[in-house]
């Protein structure tokens, strides 16, 4: 009997030791992360794509962040006060946070970072920081003075932001990585995030653990590369990448998401899929009637906009720009009625397209979109239309404006209806002259100053109606963001349920 007890005790010790110390035996290997688009720049002030935002979120930290419940939580700022009319935000900076070179974070870092970023030549139509900073006192004199008077740093731990008018959603926007604090050390930009990024080449980054970061991670380092989304399944199963981080679920074919060790993390609705219409003068869609006609064709056809996405499983077709149960959302009946109104203009659209065939930019492998549009009777210029890579589409959208229709998406930045400001507001970070509407822009400017929640709904209902009247873009619907990973090679520590969560620190390497 003693032998049995001895053996059992020995086995327990061995098993216990393996469980406790097995994970500590070897340094974990780096995790390979793939993205479907290039991030272009890892400078926070030049971030203008969703992918860049998620890559940057691993290195840079803004004043505030979001927790698992989508509540705003301290990040670079450990606390804040807001005055009654929401024009003055006073932040206490967490000076215990450190950059990856060991230096402490201060309020001056934020002021310097933002003013520097505003000086850069933006990749998008507006500066990435414009939709927040333009609201500050003295912002309109920045180009003359070189600083913004509405940003005050009385000491190294205090940051005061004075806005010209009430800014209800300031905190929502201040979580964006483009508003993070950064420092230049040599030729690199460093932050206070969990990782420190280092470029190895074009579209190839290494992220090493920031030894001074508060965020713990079992992984040793990350290697980030850009892959062709059509090779996703092969890349995951063969080990070229361990994680395919943040993609619109509607854009990934279902067969690419199935595999013996392939797992998919699904978050909330995070991306608006849309057909951006070029309403610049002289273009076909400068006529509002024709934009309404296209809206009708897309959403009144059988299956609605589902035909225009690869994977309807993670997509819900919806003509409205605001999410269900979001303030300002119209009833389905009213929305349908507004969409129906475009039916009378369909023959005109078809006739005009015959005169001036449409130039359509879609993504690689998305030619079925052209077929679908042609099925409506529209004439497509197949020579000038193209399967454009992400860079081409971005450049076209912000600068060149060659297409009549551009198939693309924009992220949902928050649950407040003001989240549409960054794409349709006058100073929106990712707006474009192609889609700017004066009517809509005015509604959005007024809307972000309202603090009474009852009035918010009324104001944004105006937006919703204007959106379906003006049709700056045909909103196809909402897509859930997904992260795909190989469960044999990586594990995940916590439930990743936030909307736009590009953070990779919850992942850890399983195999040596």
């Amino acid at each position: 009997m003693r032998k049995v007890y001895f053996v059992m005790g020995l086995c327990s010790l061995v098993v216990g030791g393996l469980v406790m110390f097995g994970g500590m035996s070897e340094k974990p290997r780096s995790i390979k992360v793939g993205y479907g688009q290039p991030w272009k720049s890892i400078h926070p002030g030049l971030q203008h794509t969703a992918v860049a935002d998620f890559v940057l979120s691993n290195q840079f930290e803004a004043l505030v962040g979001y927790d698992q419940n989508n509540n705003i939580v301290p990040l670079g700022a450990k606390s804040w006060r807001v005055n009654d009319d929401m024009t003055v935000y006073t932040f206490k900076i967490d000076t215990d946070r450190k950059f990856s070179d060991g230096s402490s974070l201060t309020s001056h870092d934020y002021k310097r970072s933002w003013e520097e970023a505003l000086s850069l030549d933006p990749k998008s139509a507006n500066s990435s920081l414009a939709d927040v900073l333009h609201m500050l006192e003295g912002a309109d004199r920045f180009h003359n003075l070189g600083y913004i008077s509405g940003i005050e740093t009385p000491d190294s731990s205090t940051l005061i932001l004075r806005f010209k008018e009430t800014y209800r959603t300031a905190l929502d926007y201040l979580h964006g990585n483009r508003l993070a604090a950064y420092k230049k050390v040599g030729d690199r930009y460093i932050g206070t995030g969990a990782y420190s990024l280092r470029e190895l080449g074009t579209d190839n980054l290494v992220a090493q653990k920031n030894p001074y970061s508060n965020l713990s991670s079992k992984g040793s380092e990350l290697e980030m590369i850009v892959i062709d989304p059509t090779t996703l399944k092969k890349s995951i199963e063969s080990g070229i990448i361990d994680i395919y981080a943040f993609e619109a679920g509607s854009r990934v074919a279902q067969e690419n998401l199935t595999g013996p060790n392939t797992k998919v993390l699904v978050g909330q609705d995070a991306i608006n899929e849309a057909l951006y219409l070029n309403s610049l003068p002289g273009r076909l869609f400068s006529d509002k009637r024709l934009r309404k006609a296209l809206l009708y064709l897309i959403h009144q056809a059988p299956s609605g906009a589902n035909k225009l996405v690869r994977n309807p499983k993670y997509f819900s077709s919806d003509p409205q720009a605001l999410l269900p149960l979001q303030a300002g959302r119209l009833s389905d009946q009213e929305a349908n009625k507004l969409v129906q109104d475009g039916e009378r203009y369909v023959p005109i659209l078809i006739e005009e397209s015959k005169k001036k065939p449409l130039i359509v930019y879609v993504g690689k492998g998305e030619t079925w979109v052209l077929d679908h549009l042609e099925n409506f009777g529209l004439v497509i210029d197949r020579n000038l239309s193209k399967e454009a890579d992400p860079s081409e589409r971005i450049s076209n959208y912000y600068k060149e404006h060659r297409s009549d229709i551009l198939l693309a998406g924009y992220s949902i930045s928050g649950a407040d209806p003001d989240s549409v400001y960054h794409v349709m507001g006058k100073h929106g970070a990712i707006t474009s002259p192609m889609i700017q509407s004066r009517v809509i822009a005015e509604i959005l400017e007024d809307g972000r100053q309202i603090v009474d929640s009852n009035r918010v709904n009324t104001q944004y209902e105006k937006f919703s109606r204007a959106f379906l009247e003006e049709v700056p873009l045909v909103h196809l619907g909402f897509s859930k963001a997904i992260t795909v990973y190989n469960s044999k090679r990586v594990g995940i520590d916590s439930a990743v349920i936030r909307r736009n969560n590009g953070h990779l620190y919850p992942f850890y390497s399983k195999s040596p």
Partner: protein, 431 residues
């Protein structure tokens, strides 16, 4: 009379099974309780959050609604959570699609659904895995190990009893049929065999002594015959002593030789009621009073130099001619030892009396040897009787009393000893 199996069941199995059953019941109860508490907690969480959601839904405050949905997702360990309206998902979180239409429990998941207070058609739905995580599985595994270990212990206990006790004792006897009495008999036989080994070893030594003693005895015999300085009585005593020692030695040497059986020709009325096993040797009946007288006389002569000790004898007329078929040498040895004990109990500076008596009570012959020596304390007396330990004698080995006891037991007689410190000791042999 019970079997080993019954004995094991009543003494060992039942308590062990009760213990194991108690452990199992406690373990299952704990798991069920944990499971029930978890499920109740999950259901309560969904209900509470559904109650909170009414205002945000009516005001279309998606900011708060998303926070509440996230809270349900985390607090209930759900796979999916959604706000559904007429089977259409308005807000959803998690990996399952088409969730609002599927409200049926399945093997792998349980659907918790609660109406959002006061709103027609609005529901909060959460899909939770059937088997909870964390401590439930830990309790399951640990409890399983405990139960498994208990069963192994019970099984091993049974095997040990069979291997270590039953098989060595009874060889081919099976676990179920052996009786407790048989085990007792077997254990007694084992004990007797062990004692026999000890006696055999002791007897071997005694035989050796007896063998070796014969040479010096022969020498003494020869010298005593030639000795002219001794009177008749002294010569007679020497001869008797030499004869006695020779008889003792001869007796030891002959002990393990097969006895010649003498057919019984005696008068049954003259033989006292005894049970003599057929396998034991049959002795010629002897007159007990003569043996007693001879032994006493021999001891008196031997102690003639001890002036403080007197000897006396009393033989009742009825017992004078009583015959007993027993080993005369054995009786002489016993009497010699008892007289020696009596002599040695009287201190040199004290006066003492040693008396022997023979009488009849009912059909029994009673032989008593009394002394007025130091006496024996009750505790010492107990040791002498039970363990044969010698008290107060420098070279004693306690065999005198023990051999007397054995001798009387072999005759189905009785051996009794009474003593009082300061007054003396009485040894009573009942034939």
């Amino acid at each position: 009379m019970i079997t080993i199996n019954q004995w094991f069941r009543s003494k060992a199995i039942v308590p062990l099974v009760l213990l194991t059953t108690t452990v199992i019941i406690a373990w299952i109860s704990l798991l069920l309780r944990q499971y029930y508490d978890l499920r109740k907690y999950q259901t309560d969480q969904v209900q509470q959050h559904a109650n909170l959601m009414q205002i945000p839904v009516t005001r279309k405050d998606r900011v708060i609604l998303e926070t509440l949905v996230g809270s349900v997702f985390l607090n209930t360990n759900s796979r999916s959570v959604a706000i559904c309206h007429n089977n259409k998902s308005l807000i959803s979180l998690g990996w399952r699609s088409g969730f609002c239409k599927n409200s049926v429990d399945s093997v792998f998941q349980r659907v918790l659904s609660s109406n959002i207070g006061g709103l027609e058609g609005y529901r909060l739905v959460a899909s939770t895995p059937i088997f909870p995580n964390g401590s439930f599985w830990l309790a399951l595994v640990m409890g399983g190990i405990l139960v498994g270990a208990s069963l192994i212990i019970v099984y091993r206990l049974q095997s040990s009893i069979r291997e270590c006790i039953l098989v060595p004792l009874n060889g081919e006897q099976t676990f179920e049929v052996i009786q407790i009495k048989e085990v007792d008999d077997l254990l007694r036989k084992q004990e007797l065999a062990k004692q026999a080994e000890v006696h055999k070893a002791t007897f071997k030594v005694a035989k050796q002594v007896a063998h070796d003693i014969r040479s010096p005895l022969s020498c003494l015999d020869a010298i005593s015959k030639r000795s002219d300085g001794l009177n008749f009585e002294e010569k007679d005593l020497i001869n008797r002593s030499i004869t006695r020692i020779s008889e003792i030695a001869e007796d030891l040497l002959l002990r393990d030789r097969p006895q010649k059986s003498i057919p019984p020709t005696l008068n049954n009325e003259m033989v006292l009621n005894r049970n003599i096993p057929i396998s034991e040797p049959v002795h010629i009946p002897i007159v007990i009073s003569e043996i007693l007288s001879e032994s006493l006389e021999s001891k008196r002569v031997e102690c003639s130099t001890l002036e403080n000790i007197k000897f006396s004898k009393m033989i009742e007329p009825e017992a004078m001619d009583t015959l007993l078929a027993l080993d005369p040498n054995g009786l002489k040895r016993v009497l010699s030892n008892l007289f020696n004990n009596a002599v040695e109990s009287i201190k040199p500076n004290c006066r003492g009396l040693i008396s022997a008596s023979l009488s009849k009570e009912n059909e029994n012959l009673i032989l008593e040897i009394r002394d007025t020596g130091a006496g024996i304390s009750p505790s010492d007396l107990k040791k002498i009787i039970e363990k044969g330990i010698s008290i107060g004698k420098a070279n004693g080995n306690g065999l005198g009393i023990t051999s007397a006891q054995s001798f009387m037991k072999g005759l189905n007689g009785k051996f009794d000893i009474y003593s009082k410190e300061g007054f003396g000791t009485t040894v009573r042999l009942t034939f």
